[in-house]
């Protein structure tokens, strides 16, 4: 590895470079206030209690929606299966269908 030449402009610039960030007088209090805020954040049960009516309504809606779609889906599936079976059953006793290609 080559040792940088101290006379090189980049090395000189880097050697002279000083970072002087502006002072932030409220840095510590800000950090502590954020820590406190995080500590005071409501638990989930607290959150639910705070939004009780909304959560209960949404829960009711979700369950009704699930129940309705589940029931409709079951009925659709059974109706389709029954339709196929009934059609086959009736056609098997219908001489008119027997001559179709």
């Amino acid at each position: 590895m080559n040792t940088p030449d101290p006379e090189e402009p980049l090395s000189r610039t880097l050697a002279d470079w000083r970072v002087t960030p502006p002072r932030h007088p409220h840095f510590r209090p800000d950090v502590w206030s954020r820590i406190e805020a995080a500590r005071r954040a409501p638990t989930w049960t607290g959150y639910v209690r705070a939004h009780g009516a909304l959560v209960a309504g949404a829960l009711m809606l979700a369950m009704v929606l699930g129940a309705w779609t589940g029931r409709e889906r079951a009925r659709e599936r059974d109706a389709a299966a029954r339709a196929t079976l009934v059609a086959d059953y009736v056609h098997s006793l219908d001489a008119r269908w027997m001559r179709l290609p």
Partner: protein, 143 residues
Amino acid sequence: MKNLLLTLGILAAACALSYGGFYLMSREPAEVQQAMRAGDALAWLRTEFHLDIPQYAAIKKLHEDYAEVCAGHCAAIMAAQKRGAPPADIAALEKTCVTAMTEHFKRVAALMPPGQGERYLAIVLPRIADFDHRGAPNVQVKS
């Protein structure tokens, strides 16, 4: 934000549970489902219309007997078509077929438990009218 996401997750889970529960509760009984899956019409009749063993045996016999009558109608219609019979003759044969089939369904319904026969006729009789000469009808059964 975390609480909101957790709440939404619980709502989604409740919705899925409710869907699954009502889906399973709303399906036909397992025996009916099995008969429909297998395409077994006689098993379907037995389970769907709550037939006891003597009723099932009598209806099975009726179907077997009618299969011969139906084959006779089929042969007559095909023979008429083959010899190029006039449309009126073919229509008359078809009418005979429809009349016999309707009577057969009514005889089957009469063997069923009270109330079930009417339900059976409400399901099968409209299918007779579904026939058209262009091809298979679009059948929909509403229970």
